[in-house]
């Protein structure tokens, strides 16, 4: 937006430089991203300028904290972990996007790339199909705001079909329109990097092939709670299907008593839902904007769990939820068992909560697993994000066949070894699809000589035939409140690794 007048010298230098650059690009082969999204073949690298470039693949590094490296034998299970897609209805009135300008921990209420979540999920599905796992774990926070249309879109992507990502009469009617004078939102028609027509393209119908293989759902906070925090109330329900939206910050917006901006807060907002409720109350008292109403935006509350189970089970199969909870077990082949724990709070708040009886149930399942290797899956990590998580970890510490504990929620790639007297296991979290690096995880469990196992894992970038996925990834990388400054991508030791686990003693 600042004009530059080239003087004669600069024009000559630019011409010379341009010619030189053309020559240089002629030499050397331009790299292309891997067609299957595997980061073993190629990665997306930021050379420090904010612009992503295709870089070399990252080979697997061996991690031997839990057992020595051994020759690898037969593969036992091939799993994909896809988590925190946050499929989002950006036109929904039941959102408080103006909170994002306060910074952490409220920054997730608006993201520049939030209109492109369906496309990114479709791209992740594409990469996972290329990986061809036996089972896909949908790790939670599949949707962002507990809305029916968000869930419908997400499930269509996973099942296959045609998705119409927009909502309301206009497809998109939200804070990123160029007619919005608020300078704190990224408006793709105006703000750099400019993408004219992005908002229209984002709601264009999309045909997707679907996962085409079994998948198992995990319940996340955003799946069941409004903004991942609030149990739906009459106010929020009315807002969701109504025609009043809260785009503009209320005048003299102030932080509720006791609330502190936390630079290292979880991207999922403050743990105490009362703060979000307080902001919402202020917002409702301030100026609102009229938008088109859409009944498909209805909030689902915890019925979302049933829908998830039904969708994952496939047509014709009974839905085995127990009391509306998504705890469950799934076997993969003869050698591996998956134990899914539902620690999402039913009374609001984004953190996890271990309910009474859960540790005992876990112990039962681990005992019943016998000789199978076990992978435990939750949405919120048990260490640090889950109240009572230590108890579950203590249970797992006792069982020698637990290989890994998988989670999402933090949007961060992280792998830590948890040693235990029984042999220890790997604590793995996978990044989200909404924040940079927008990756899923491939996992292959194999035998090693000597009776141990090795869990090979590497990241999968979403791939697409069109450009919207790349735009989303680029915007996510530029975001000063997103995955790049918070280093969600982790270190190489958190990404493409061979995790050795010694044999059971």
């Amino acid at each position: 937006m600042t004009a530059r007048r080239l003087n004669r010298r600069e024009a000559l230098l630019a011409a010379a430089g341009g010619a030189g650059a053309l020559l240089l690009t002629g030499c050397g082969s331009p790299r292309r991203p891997a067609a299957d999204g595997s980061t073993l073949a190629s990665t997306w690298v930021d050379p420090g300028t904010g612009q992503l470039q295709v870089g070399p693949g990252e080979p697997l590094r061996a991690r031997v904290e839990l057992g020595p490296a051994r020759p690898v034998g037969a593969a036992l299970a091939r799993i994909a972990h896809l988590t925190d897609a946050h499929v989002l209805d950006a036109s929904s009135p039941a959102r408080v996007p103006f909170l994002a300008r306060f910074g952490p921990p409220l920054q997730s209420t608006f993201r520049p790339q939030e209109t492109l979540t369906v496309q990114v999920l479709a791209g992740a599905v594409h990469a996972i199909r290329a990986f061809a796992p036996e089972l896909v774990i949908e790790g939670g926070d599949l949707v962002d705001n507990n809305q029916a249309n968000e869930l419908a879109h997400a499930l269509t992507v996973l099942a296959g079909g045609t998705v119409h990502p927009g909502s309301g009469p206009d497809g998109y009617d939200g804070v990123q329109l160029s007619s919005d004078p608020d300078p704190f939102y990224y408006r793709p028609d105006i703000d750099a990097p400019r993408h004219p027509g992005l908002l229209r393209a984002a709601v264009a119908p999309l045909s997707v092939p679907g996962l085409d293989r079994p998948w198992v759902p995990v319940l996340g906070d955003h799946d069941a709670l409004v903004a991942g925090e609030l149990v739906p109330t009459p106010v929020t329900r009315a807002l969701a299907v109504g025609d009043r939206a809260l785009w503009q910050p209320p005048p003299h917006l102030h932080l509720p008593a006791g609330f502190r901006l936390n630079p290292s807060g979880s991207p999922d907002g403050p743990p105490d839902p009362r703060f979000v409720a307080a902001f919402l109350a202020q917002a409702l008292a301030g100026p609102t904007v009229t938008v088109g109403a859409d009944p498909t935006r209805a909030e689902l509350a915890f019925t979302v769990a049933d829908r998830l189970t039904a969708a994952a089970a496939g047509p014709g199969r009974p839905s085995p939820t127990v009391g509306g909870r998504l705890d469950g077990v799934r076997d993969i082949g003869a050698a591996v068992r998956l134990v899914v724990l539902d620690v999402t709070r039913r009374d609001g708040g984004s953190g996890g909560l271990v309910v009474p009886g859960q540790p005992a149930w876990l112990a039962e399942q681990l005992a019943a697993a016998g000789d199978r290797w076990v992978i435990v899956v939750t949405h919120q990590p048990l260490a640090g994000s889950t109240e009572g998580g230590e108890r579950l970890l203590e249970v797992m510490d006792r069982f020698p066949r637990v290989v890994a504990c998988l989670a999402g929620h933090t949007h961060r790639n992280r792998i830590a070894a948890r040693p235990s007297p029984a042999g220890g296991y790997w604590m793995i979290t996978t990044s989200s699809l909404i924040d940079f690096p927008q990756q899923s995880r491939a996992l292959v469990l194999s035998e090693t000589s000597g009776g141990g196992v090795v869990l090979d894992t590497w990241m999968l970038d979403h791939v697409d035939d069109g450009a919207l996925g790349s735009v989303s990834r680029q915007l996510a990388n530029l975001d000063a409140q997103g995955g790049r400054p918070f280093r969600f991508a982790g270190t190489p030791r958190d990404r493409n690794v061979r995790l050795f686990r010694r044999a059971v003693a």
Partner: protein, 769 residues
């Protein structure tokens, strides 16, 4: 005349000797050529000094100072908070924080100022300014400062002197600094630098304190817009935010100088082409004159190359010393003033960087005449030798302009006939003279306009000279006063952005004709062309992320909101670019009580004093618009000096062109003159004949020149400057008459001089040809 084929040092010496002898034979001609080359060389070197020196000034300054790619100013905020926000931005390779304190009182000897700016620097080597003399600020708490070079020069502050700063006491000046992000004193406020460490040591304040200025360096400066977007998105909580990019700073700083550079370069090119054409024509005529002798030498066996080289060598013997003197002259005429201008802009002089370009311009000044002499000789020897010996060069068509049967015309008519008999030559010469005429007219108009131009950097873009505190209804009365071109109501008030960024925005509105009264240069988009449209300053655009098509929401003092669409952004220096221009209807709808005044645009060359008196008489005393002219006066003075130097050079070039053209015309008519003298023509008759010839050249040249300036050059340059200032470059009657008189005088001088020469030559010599 020897025609020794082959080379060897003997051959070379012989050729050298031949060339010298040819020159000695016609010293006047040699001097004339030398004068032409000298002027062209001076022209060229002046253009080099100006373009390379002034044009490259900002680039040199920002490279030397390591100027940041992004400069952000804001209301004081904790350094930790700001650092955290900057660290999260993409593409950042480094940043420096400082506290900029304005309205500091300083004293040095008899000099005093209450508007100095203290830059309190944080830690770090990269700071965005260059230390050009003395040494950097030490790390400890000693009371040392760096002062800006331009300020030091203006007040005579030497390194080692003590500057008295109110609140700090005596501070020792340890060096000079130049920061290209602002202009130097007296164009800007006096500026000095000191470290926070010094204040910590002396006053015990915390090491890390509030800052209000961040300089940011980017890995890839082309992505500055993306970084700006992220910076704004992160900036909630920071107030009074102002962004400026390196490119934006360059535009603002160079605006006034940029105008001059563009003008001077354009003018130099015109004059240079004129000089080149002229030298080429002279060389061609020279060759024509020597056709027979060239033919004889060809007949004797001289090669084409040797002949062409001989011609070239002759001219080279003249051109080399002339070009050397001319190059030096052009350099001396302009480098002092351009150096002063650079200093005012906080930019370094090119120094040794000019050597190579000047050498290049010298080489060009030699090469063009030499080639211009050798080439016709080469070409003319293309045909059979016998053609050369016959010395034919006559147009073969029927007479186009028959001599009238009775009386009419007489000798003057004959003179006209003689020149008109070669239409191609006539057209080329007239074109050349016309361009010189247009050019001189342009210089006169420009000099007149520039000296009356208000070039206070704050006021560029404002075209009205007076304002009066009067109701809108008075505008029609004021517009009817003599000397007033237009008068309109003007509304102005201060609004605030609706998103609590703390941006104070100046809102300016006119009922219509916004661009006539106030039109800062357009940076992007278009002028407002519909209701609810506004154009905004670049400063506001950067602060709020506006671009053509954006929505803008402002809060007025009345409490109402202004809902606008941005049609374009403008480089307005007023109010640091935090300004919005819109139609009065829109503003008045939101705030019917908006403060109003009448803006008065004067007719070209009307006197402010006269019109002011008139306005006082009818009860509306006016105020002058640009009250702070003093700030811009040094800039105007320097610009005028440069322009004057160039004007003189260019004027001389044009005079030379005229004399050359006349001399050539006569030279080719010597045999005719001789015949007439043999027939008994008196000197007066000869003068009449030559006058006819000269008038044939001058009259159409004058007419074409005036038209070219009025219709082509003037409007083109005015358009070029339109962004910066209102330039009225149409020639006035007085200007035109003056130039015509000058042309006539020059023509008369040419006729007189050439007649004298023609008469001095024996009749026989003319007949012998």
């Amino acid at each position: 005349m020897s025609a020794t084929p082959g080379g060897g040092s003997r051959g070379r010496r012989r050729r050298f000797g031949d060339a010298l002898r040819m020159l000695a034979r016609s010293p006047r001609r040699a001097l004339f050529t030398a004068a032409g080359v000298l002027l062209a060389a001076a022209m060229l070197s002046a253009a080099v000094v100006i373009t390379d020196g002034l044009g490259g000034g900002f680039a040199r300054a920002s490279a030397r100072a390591d100027l940041g790619d992004l400069i952000i100013r804001f209301d004081p905020e904790s350094a930790r908070t700001v650092a955290a926000k900057l660290a999260a931005l993409p593409d950042v390779s480094g940043f420096a924080l400082r506290s900029e304190i304005t309205s500091v009182g300083v004293r040095f000897g008899a000099h005093r100022s209450g508007t100095a700016v203290a830059e309190v620097l944080g830690p770090g080597r990269r700071q965005g300014f260059a230390v050009v003399a003395g040494h950097r600020l030490p790390a400890g708490g000693a009371p040392d400062v760096l002062v800006e070079t331009a300020w030091a020069q203006a007040w005579g502050i030497a390194i080692g002197d003590e500057l008295d700063v109110r609140g700090l006491g005596p501070e020792r000046v340890v060096g000079y600094a130049e920061g290209p992000d602002d202009v130097g004193y007296p164009l800007g406020a006096p500026r000095f630098y000191l470290t926070r460490a010094q204040l910590v040591a002396r006053f015990g304040i915390p090491t890390v304190g509030p800052v209000n200025f961040a300089e940011v360096w980017l890995r890839d400066p082309r992505l500055v817009d993306e970084v700006l977007v992220q910076a704004r998105d992160e900036s909630y909580g920071l107030r009074g935010l102002k962004f400026s990019t390196r490119a934006g700073v360059q535009v603002l700083i160079s605006q006034a100088a940029g105008l001059v550079i563009d003008l001077l370069v354009a003018l130099s090119v015109i004059a240079l082409v004129t000089a080149a054409v002229m030298l080429g024509a002279a060389a061609r005529a020279e060759v024509q004159r020597r056709l027979r002798s060239i033919g004889i030498r060809r007949a004797l066996g001289a090669g084409r190359w040797a002949l062409a080289a001989g011609q070239g060598l002759e001219v080279a013997l003249v051109a080399v010393p002339a070009a050397t003197v001319g190059t030096l002259a052009g350099f001396l005429a302009t480098h002092g003033a351009s150096g002063r201008l650079l200093s005012l802009l906080n930019e370094p002089a090119p120094g040794a960087g000019l050597i190579l370009p000047l050498l290049g311009s010298w080489a060009l000044s030699v090469a063009v005449p030499v080639l211009g002499a050798a080439w016709p000789a080469w070409r003319v020897t293309r045909g059979p030798v016998i053609g050369l010996l016959r010395g034919t060069d006559v147009a073969t068509s029927r007479p186009r302009f028959p001599w009238p049967a009775r009386g009419g015309g007489g000798l003057t008519g004959l003179g006209v006939r003689l020149v008109a008999a070669r239409p191609a030559r006539l057209v080329a010469t007239v074109a050349m003279l016309a361009s010189s005429t247009a050019f001189i007219l342009l210089m006169i108009a420009l000099a007149g306009t520039l000296s009356s131009l208000e070039t206070d950097p704050q006021e560029l873009g404002k075209r009205y000279e007076l304002t009066a505190a009067a109701p809108a209804a008075a505008a029609a009365r004021i517009a009817r006063l003599p000397g007033v071109a237009a008068a309109e109501p003007r509304y102005e008030l201060t609004a605030v952005d609706a998103y609590e960024l703390g941006e104070l925005v100046d809102v300016v509105a006119y009922p219509r004709q916004l661009s006539r009264f106030e039109a800062p240069p357009l940076a992007a988009g278009r002028r407002p062309h519909g209701a609810d449209q506004a154009e905004v300053g670049v400063g506001l655009a950067d602060a709020l992320g506006l671009a053509p098509g954006s929505a803008l929401l402002l809060e007025l003092p009345s409490g109402r909101q202004l809902d606008l669409r941005v049609s374009g952004t403008v480089n307005s220096l007023a109010y640091e670019g935090l300004v919005a221009y819109l139609p009065a209807a829109v503003l008045l709808r939101a705030d019917p009580a908006a403060p109003e005044q009448i803006a008065v645009l004067l007719a070209p060359r009307a006197s402010t004093a006269t019109v002011s008196a008139e306005m006082r008489r009818i009860g509306f005393p006016p105020t002058l618009t640009a009250g702070a002219v003093a700030r811009g006066a040094p800039l105007v003075a320097v610009l005028t000096t440069i322009l004057r130097a160039v004007a003189v050079l260019d004027g001389l070039v044009c005079l030379y062109a005229l004399l050359q053209a006349c001399a050539l015309t006569v030279q080719e008519r010597r045999s005719t003159v001789a015949v007439l003298r043999a027939c008994g023509a008196s000197p007066g008759a000869i003068a009449r004949l030559l006058s006819g010839a000269v008038v044939t050249l001058i009259a159409p040249a004058a007419a074409l020149g005036v038209l070219a300036e009025a219709w082509l050059l003037g409007p083109a340059l005015a358009r070029l400057a339109a962004g910066y200032a209102s330039l009225d470059l149409a020639p006035t009657r007085v200007d035109v008459l003056a130039v015509l008189a000058g042309l006539a005088l020059a023509g008369a001088i040419a006729v007189w001089a050439v007649t004298r020469r023609a008469l001095a030559e024996p009749v026989l010599a003319g007949l012998a040809r």
